[in-house]
């Protein structure tokens, strides 16, 4: 039944809300845009006063591999949304992906979007927690010292779920 009553401020506040209090962002991809989507959602949660945890797995680990955070690329092949009129073969030319990625990074800098490494530092300084997936780290032969200092721990999937415990918690998979 539609609610036709005009709500006053006080009445509006009485409506029961279930606000998001915590997010767990799982980043399983290592492309520039997927990593940025993850970072922006985690940082955005912190800025809203929510808790935020990040879990990097599989190719997502590339974002938190020491010295590699700022070397991520966007796919110029197999990415139909990227420059629609560009023939796929051109996207595959040597150096094209690096060029496109550096152009994207320049556009982001104009919007004051920090480079990935700085973004991770910001999230850490803001009280966000960054974790790496144990299974993926084992698979890629990565140890704690191979990952950036901001990584709190290398954890199992069970431990990852425990990060999302509590009322008002949401898991976001990228």
């Amino acid at each position: 039944m539609p609610d036709t009553m005009v709500k006053t401020d006080a009445a509006a506040q009485k409506v029961e809300k279930h606000p998001v209090k915590k997010v767990l962002v799982i980043c399983a991809r290592g492309t520039l845009e997927d990593v940025y989507a993850s970072l922006i959602m985690a940082n955005g949660a912190l800025m809203e006063g929510m808790e935020a945890k990040m879990f990097f797995t599989f190719f997502g680990l590339e974002a938190i591999r020491k010295g590699n955070s700022d070397n991520l690329h966007t796919a110029t092949v197999g990415n139909p949304a990227f420059m629609r009129n560009l023939p796929t073969m051109v996207g595959g030319l040597p150096g094209f992906e690096a060029l496109a990625s550096s152009m994207m990074k320049k556009e982001m800098e104009k919007l004051d979007i920090p480079p990935v490494s700085e973004f991770l530092e910001i999230i850490d300084a803001s009280g966000g927690e960054i974790y790496a997936c144990k299974l993926a780290a084992d698979m890629f032969h990565l140890k704690r010292e191979d990952l950036i200092d901001e990584v709190k721990d290398i954890i199992t999937v069970g431990e990852m779920y425990a990060l999302a415990e509590g009322e008002g918690a949401q898991i976001i998979f990228v």
């Binding site: 940082n43 809203e48 006063g49 004051d112 700085e118 300084a125 803001s126 009280g127």
Partner: protein
Amino acid sequence: MSEVLIAGKSVSVNEEGYLTDPSQWNREIAEQIAAEVNITLTPKHWEVLEYLREKQQAGEMLNIRKIGKSGIVDIKEFYQLFPGGPLKNASKIAGIPKPASCI
């Protein structure tokens, strides 16, 4: 938008309680809004608030990265000074619009 009485002064605020006219702001108003979000303003808070007002007046988009590079506070400190949505709370206390940035 509505008119409310804050610290004995009638000011216009939007539905979220942000002042719609930064020129109506004064220190007493800031203190009262801060008290509502359980913040007691220290000299460091004032430095941040003045910085935010300055940047807003200059037409600059405010975001967490800029705060971190302000030279006034680092990001950790900023979160400690204004807990629970730092830039939102700080902007509200500073009497400037809610930041519209995603960063």
